[in-house]
């Protein structure tokens, strides 16, 4: 038939070239067949990996907060009827695997991994400056590790995908062990720490530095209770002199002082471009969302208390915490989201040192007090923290006071084994299986592999 068409066409002098006529390439969007061919393409691929962190599912919106702050004991969902309780149910441990918040975060974390994988797969085949290639690799290794770090903490054993896969191949993925995931992300972060520069030119401010990679690696060690490794790595960050504490806690979050010397890594936003902005974090028009127990913990002189005060943008009923406040334009703001900051590093360092061996005085206490005194809170005398357990309590308390709303609380509670007690204190009784989240129902169904890809126990 095709030949007949051809003959007819030729006879009538119409279309000589079927190929030309029937093969139309997209004109307004690049396609994968032509991409990842030069250094410019690679740069675009790297930037897109950063951009993946900006979405509402991760650092740009509420879903991530639902899993790591609302779920814990710092904030609570005050609007149970909204969206038929979609978010409320996550907060109150009522949500099952069908709850779309879980899928939203899972999907975006793996999408982030994919964006890193596809560039890392192709970068060695592209002709470009070797130093630049190493830097790009380092940036992607960091972002991939960050995504896996979240995945493994939220869901435990997850599939470890480190190559660009066809959709068909991805159907045979299975859940790797937690140890395998940690091994991979440690290896990524070590490589990143080597590959990455200490700093960038002003135009590239916001890219991952070697300091950020080390800071995150320290956190990974700490989470795995590899305390000596954590001490070594975090000490490198502390002694590098690349980072300092801001004079006051408010300065860290001042929208006019973004990506300051206290920030190791933040996800960047801007009000200048509508597509690079986000809605006010933790915005609510119902009422307060900060647990009273948290507010009551602050001492009278502690400047961090004011960061949790509620503030309304002009003319609205919405309110959010001062920590993330910026006057919105068209209901959006451009504040960065800090992923890792120096105060966090100092507290991790203090915690790791104490776990390696309690010392009445020394670096651990010095660094803990550095964070406290910066906030206007009185320094601990060493007699107040007479043993390892007391110090451990103090440093965890300090993390709660210093880092609320910054997506650390749930992880801190789980890794220190204190989640059940902390939630009991706010009236929620939970079971051990609830320390991991349910795998999104849709994914369990797609794999349909109860041995290789089971649902988390209890769900």
């Amino acid at each position: 038939m095709k030949k007949i068409v051809f003959v007819l066409a030729a006879f009538l002098g119409l279309s000589a070239c079927e190929k030309d006529f029937l093969e139309l390439a997209p004109e307004s969007q690049p396609n994968v067949n032509d991409f990842y061919k030069n250094a410019g393409d690679i740069l675009n691929g790297v930037n897109a990996a950063y951009a993946s962190l900006q979405t509402g599912s991760l650092y740009g919106g509420r879903d991530f907060q639902d899993l790591t702050e609302y779920r814990a004991d710092n904030v609570f969902d005050n609007d149970p009827s909204a969206n038929s309780g979609l978010r409320y149910n996550v907060d109150r441990f009522l949500a099952g695997s069908e709850n779309t918040i879980f899928e939203s975060v899972w999907r975006r974390l793996y999408l982030t991994v994919y964006r890193c994988n596809i560039v890392l797969d192709r970068i060695d085949g592209v002709e470009m400056d070797a130093a630049l290639r190493n830097r790009y690799k380092g940036e992607l290794q960091f972002i991939r590790a960050l995504a896996y770090f979240h995945l493994v903490q939220l869901w435990g054993p997850v599939p470890l995908v480190l190559k660009d896969q066809t959709t068909e191949a991805s159907r045979s993925n299975v859940r790797n062990t937690v140890a395998e995931v940690y091994a991979a992300l440690e290896s990524d972060l070590k490589a990143a720490a080597t590959n990455l520069p200490k700093s960038y030119a002003a135009a590239d401010l916001g890219r991952v530095t070697s300091g950020a990679a080390k800071g995150l690696l320290g956190k990974v060690y700490l989470t795995q209770k590899k305390y000596p490794d954590a001490v070594t790595t975090l000490r490198e960050v502390v002694t590098s002199g690349d980072f300092t504490l801001m004079a006051t806690p408010a300065l860290v979050f001042d929208p006019k002082n973004e990506y300051n010397k206290e920030i190791l890594f933040a996800v960047r936003f801007s009000l200048a471009n509508a597509s690079e902005s986000h809605g006010l974090y933790y915005s609510s028009q119902i009422g307060d969302f900060v647990e009273p127990s948290l507010r009551n913990l602050y001492g009278a002189t502690d400047q961090r208390k004011a960061l949790l005060d509620l503030r309304k943008p002009t003319g609205t009923q919405n309110q959010t915490a001062v920590k993330f406040f910026e006057e919105p334009t068209n209901n959006v703001v451009g504040t960065d989201f800090p992923v890792l900051r120096y105060a966090d590093v100092l507290l991790m360092y203090a915690e790791a040192l104490n776990e390696v061996g309690y010392q009445a005085t020394g670096d651990a206490l010095t660094n803990l007090n550095a964070v406290r005194t910066r906030a206007g809170a009185p320094a601990y005398a060493s007699a107040e923290l007479p043993n390892q357990a007391a110090f451990r309590d103090a440093v965890l308390l300090e993390r709660r006071l210093e880092l609320p709303l910054e997506l650390h609380r749930w992880y801190d509670l789980v890794r220190t084994g204190r989640a059940k007690d902390a939630l009991k204190a706010i009236g929620l009784t939970i079971q051990d299986f609830q320390l991991l989240f349910p795998i999104p129902n849709s994914q369990v169904q797609i794999y349909n592999n109860p041995t290789g890809f089971p649902q988390n126990q209890g769900y």
Binding site: L22, L24, L94, F269
Partner: protein
């Protein structure tokens, strides 16, 4: 060769055509004898104008004049004259030496001689072996609507026409024999005068408002046609009929033929109607006093949920002390006066404020006429329809010129149809939070006035506080947002046909469809932003879209009659291509509201442009054979190659065959005199659906930028779709068997059809593991079946003065998913909210509602304790069924299918009567068994006392001793018990019966009007949608928030009501 191809694309074809037009001189016949005569109408005994008088076997003829007279020169060897007129029985008269021949023509009651357009040809109805539905110009007149597809409603068996939105110019959903495709679109192919037009224009210029994720209803691309220009509409229903359109035929094909001139004196006509429209149905909402009571009650219950000792009489100070930081338990001071019953307070009926009586008018002037060799039809139309929602409207300026010229063996023709339509748009379908004015008018509290005392708009419902949801003033939104879309369309085609041999002709045709859309949107600073007091930052957008579509077809036609054998064949080659280009610019920071065009924007916040194209190359052939008007066979095949198909699947082949047996033609049936016609038909065919994305087979990258440095944008690109080189069209295999039965000279005529259609290789966004970096992938997979039964019955009777006819049709279609992809046991899709689900799975209908099952309310704590319940359920909250019996309520697993948007059956009937000069027609139609998800109930039936509520809210549970109707939850501002979970409580029966149209007309006696040089004058009054019988709670039981998404149909999240229209019309011709 390449050069010529390029030249061709630049319009070489039309040059070719016009050259051809002048190359062949006319051939005149040599005449010898003059014959004269008069033709009269048997029924009215009046002369007939425009009757064609042909000399049999020659190309000589004439047409009767105003007085019914004709004269012509008879060629030497001529023996017979043939008199024909549309709708009348053809008469042959032997000349036999006469010079005056007077003829009486009789109106044709039999439908069998009706000519049916079947795509690349035409056929007499009696010869049909496939399922084709037809509608003629007479049947579509007098209906005051802006597009012809609305007229099809309820008129054809197997053609389901729904109007999901009453917005003027909004799209109409036409489904031929159910829904075969899950994602690739279910609109039929529209072919206007032989040119298949693309459905891609239905989207207009993108339909979202800035920042909105809720789609508006699509525009109706067919509203550019003037219904008065249409001669006939045919719908090719089965695959055998539609297979000649190959990869575009599987949703059925609608063939539209416009009017041609008739030989004779020029007839000038003026057709007009003027009318008034009003909403057909409204919600019954609470008034301000009733609402305030529920507001109070909802807050008291929320208060006592937190502080059980609380009393209704506690004032806000006491409440705030007992429950800190919870504004949802306080009583807004503005509500207090209503509670104490103060008379004469503001009590706004917001529906009255946004709806109006809206005028509609239409004026068509046409002129047609010509000679036997040159015929023309030209018309101009102006239509102005205001919408029943304030600030909405539709205008159309339409022109048409059709002409045919015959010169010996050459025939050429031209149809040109330029149209300008202007849509004055209002965001009517969106939810209240998306500035949908109807959703807002229903939700906003009636205690607020529309205007302040100083005449400015009142915005007190915005940023009210007290945990009251923020609402903008819908009247302010409708009046102040400027949103206008213009569409300029040039639809045209030209052909040249040459008789190579007596039986063989060649036809070259060229068609084009050029569309230009322009949409300007401006939201002024005087409007507030939701949730924020005071002036807003204005937002403006400017959008354009240009598309050009061209088609070239070459056809060879062969017809021969040898004895009792009748053979016709067609073969051809066609190529078609469409290009689009669109722009979108969005800006803000306007210095003031004076200049609203985008140039005044101080900051461009978004700008994009998009370019796409598709092409289609086809070969087609068809052979039709009949023997002795008893046995019929037909076979056709089409091959389509398209740019949309993946590299591994560039070409598709679509064969079909059909056969018919006219049993009544057999000798052994002749004794049954009452039986005028009995025919059995059967057909089989394969068609396709090529409504797949233009570049669906190629993995694409999308921009995703990042901020580095200060505020500078660093561009990023990442894959957004995966590649699938195997991507191809969807295939539909269909069988159809039918019976045509005519009794008593076809005074009773019945058509019955049974069909079964199986669509395979469904285009699905198949979920893939998210670890691949994608969540879905476009693949051809799965199977859907539609099977059904259709019946049409016509009874007609005509005496000299009185005539009547009654037509009724009935269709039942059953839709079933046969299979989906491996590893995809079901597809769950969410609609207006994340917890509102539809399921598509084998054994069930596409897009069935899938939700928890509510079963009344818990009347007391004991009932709660005795049955599984959600954690915070309290007396007065919903009792959900533990469907899987696991002892707990889990909204992931405690769900079941709760019906679907598909009706079980639909029906329609039309009655026509005429007596002397009077004519009367009435039509009705109905649908039974469809379910509608009235998602608006989430808001206006949630009994939170927050938004305004529908009247049945008064049946709510108040206390154990006052349980209401036992089905309605308690008032509670901070709802417990997951009452808001979308369940069958939000569903409503969408069955309805509607009187569609009633028309009474009067044709003035010819003798009377002839004195005023008027040849025909008719006046009529008509009511469209006079009555609607339904239990549906909302405006429109045909509502569908996403008419082009098969996976989650039937949602009502605020919709534009349909109108009842009263009109007065005139048909005048000179």
């Amino acid at each position: 060769m390449k050069l010529s191809a390029h030249a061709f694309r630049r319009g070489g074809a039309s040059i070719c055509l016009f050259l051809a037009l002048f190359l062949f001189p006319g051939i005149s016949s040599y005449a010898q004898q003059t014959i004269r005569g008069t033709v009269t109408d048997e029924a009215t005994q009046t002369p007939m104008i425009g009757v064609s008088v042909l000399v049999k076997g020659a190309s000589v003829g004439a047409v009767t004049d105003l007085d019914g007279n004709f004269d012509l020169m008879l060629p030497k060897d001529a023996t017979t004259l043939v008199f024909s007129f549309v709708g009348y029985e053809t008469v042959e008269e032997t000349v036999a030496g006469r010079t005056i021949i007077n003829v009486v023509l009789r109106e044709n009651v039999s439908q069998l001689d009706e000519v049916v357009v079947i795509g690349y040809g035409q056929q007499q109805k009696k010869d049909l072996t496939t399922a084709v539905a037809t509608l003629s110009a007479k049947e579509i007149r007098d209906v005051p609507v802006n597009s012809f597809d609305q007229i099809l409603t309820g008129k054809m068996a197997g053609v389901l026409v729904q109007q999901p939105s009453g917005s003027p110019g909004a799209g109409v959903s036409v489904r031929v024999r159910g829904v075969g495709s899950i994602t690739a679109g279910n609109d039929p192919l529209y072919v206007i005068d032989g040119v298949p037009v693309s459905a891609d224009n239905n989207r207009g210029v993108g339909s979202n408002n800035p920042g909105s994720s809720y789609a508006e209803q699509p525009v109706n691309v067919l509203s550019t046609l003037n219904p008065a220009d249409i001669e006939s509409i045919q719908v090719l229903k089965d695959a055998s009929a539609a297979a000649i359109y190959g990869s575009r035929g599987s949703n059925g094909v609608v063939l539209i033929t416009t009017k041609k001139g008739k030989a004779g004196k020029a007839v000038v006509s003026y057709n007009t109607y003027v009318g008034m429209q009003e909403t057909l149905k409204r919600y019954d909402m609470l008034n301000a006093y009733e609402w305030s009571q529920i507001n109070f009650e909802g807050r008291n219950n929320a208060y006592r949920d937190r502080f059980p000792a609380g009393k209704d009489s506690d004032d806000n100070t006491v409440r705030a002390k007992n429950v800190a930081n919870q504004p949802g338990i306080l009583i807004p001071p503005q509500v207090q006066p209503y509670l104490s019953g103060t008379a004469g307070l503001t009590n706004t009926d917001w529906q009255d404020e946004i709806f109006r009586q809206a005028p509609i008018q239409d004026h068509v002037v046409s002129v047609s006429g010509g000679t036997e060799n040159f015929r023309y039809y030209a018309s101009g139309e102006y239509m102005d329809q205001q919408g029943v929602v304030i600030s909405s409207g539709f205008k159309r300026y339409n022109g048409r010129f059709n002409m045919d010229l015959q010169s010996g063996k050459l025939k050429v023709g031209l149809n040109i149809n330029p149209t300008l339509t202007q849509h004055d748009l209002v965001n009517s379908e969106g939810p209240w939070f998306d500035e949908g004015v109807i959703g807002l008018a229903l939700s906003i509290s009636p205690i607020w006035p529309v205007y302040n005392a100083d005449g400015t708009y009142n915005y007190d419902a915005n940023a009210w506080g007290f945990a009251m949801t923020d609402f903008l003033n819908p009247v302010a939104l409708a009046n102040q947002v400027e949103d206008n879309m213009d569409q300029l369309r040039l639809l045209g085609n030209a052909y040249a046909e040459y008789s190579i041999l007596k039986n063989l002709s060649y036809r070259l045709s060229f068609g084009t469809d050029i569309n230009n859309f322009n949409r300007q949107f401006y939201r002024p600073s005087t409007l507030e932003t939701r949730g924020r007091k005071g002036a807003s930052a204005p937002i403006g957008t400017s959008r354009t879209r240009f598309s050009s579509n061209w088609l070239v077809e070459n056809l060879l036609n062969y017809n021969t009659v040898v004895g009792k054998h009748n053979l016709s064949a067609v073969a051809g080659f066609s190529s078609q291509k469409e290009n689009f280009f669109s722009n979108y610019i969005e800006g803000t920071n306007y210095p003031n509201d004076l200049v609203q065009t985008i140039n005044a924007a101080g900051q461009i916040t978004s700008a994009s442009s998009f370019k796409e194209a598709w092409s289609l190359l086809s070969a087609l052939g068809r052979v039709q054979y009949s023997y002795n008007d008893k046995y019929y066979f037909s076979a056709a095949v089409r091959a389509d190659g398209s740019s949309r198909f993946g590299a591994n699947n560039k070409w598709g082949y679509f064969p079909s065959a059909s056969a018919g047996w006219r049993i009544s033609g057999e000798p052994f049936m002749q004794s049954l005199e009452f039986l005028s016609n009995l025919k059995l038909r059967a057909s089989y065919g394969v068609t396709g659906n090529f409504q797949i994305p233009n570049y669906g087979s190629v993995g694409l990258l999308s921009f995703d930028d990042y901020i580095l440095g200060g505020t500078a944008l660093s561009s990023g690109l990442a894959p957004s779709t995966s590649s699938n080189p195997d991507l191809s069209w969807e295939k539909t295999k269909s069988i159809d068997v039918g019976i045509d039965l005519g009794l008593f000279e076809d005074a009773l005529y019945i058509e019955l059809d049974y069909y079964k259609e199986n669509t395979t290789d469904l285009l699905l966004n198949v979920p893939v593991p998210m670890t691949s970096g994608f969540n879905t992938e476009l693949r051809n997979i799965g199977e859907v079946e539609n099977k059904g039964f259709e019946a049409t019955m016509t009874v007609q009777k005509r005496t000299k003065a009185f005539g009547w006819s009654f037509t009724a049709n009935f269709s039942a279609n059953q839709n079933k998913v046969i299979s989906l992809a491996e590893g995809v046991p079901q597809i769950l899709t969410a609609g207006g909210t994340g917890v509102t689900l539809w399921i598509t799975k084998p054994g069930e209908e596409i897009g069935s509602y899938y939700s928890p099952d509510y079963d009344g309310v818990f009347n007391n704590q004991a009932e709660i304790d005795a049955y599984p319940h959600v954690a915070n359920a309290k007396p007065g909250d919903f009792r959900f069924l533990d469907l899987n019996g696991d002892g707990k309520i889990d909204f992931a697993s405690d769900r079941q299918i709760q019906g679907s948007y598909f009706p079980d059956f639909t029906y329609g009937a039309t009655l026509n009567m005429d007596y002397k000069g009077f004519d009367f027609s009435a039509s009705m139609q109905g649908s039974d068994g469809a379910e509608i998800l009235h998602l608006m109930s989430r808001y206006i039936y949630n009994i939170e006392g927050n938004m305004n509520l529908v009247r049945p809210s008064l049946n709510r549970w108040i206390s154990e001793s006052q349980p209401g109707n036992g089905q309605t939850n308690r008032a509670n501002r901070l709802a417990t018990g997951s009452n808001g979970q979308t369940s069958n409580w939000h569903m409503d029966d969408g069955s309805y019966m509607r009187i569609r149209n009633i028309t009474l007309g009067y044709t003035f006696p010819r003798l009377l009007v002839q004195r005023a040089k008027i040849s025909n004058l008719r006046a009529y009054v008509s009511v469209l949608n006079p009555f609607l019988f339904t239990d549906y709670i909302g405006y429109n039981p045909e509502v569908n928030s996403r008419p082009d998404n098969a996976l989650n149909p039937g949602e009502d999240y605020g919709s534009y009501p349909l109108a009842r229209t009263y009109t007065f019309g005139l048909n005048l011709s000179f």
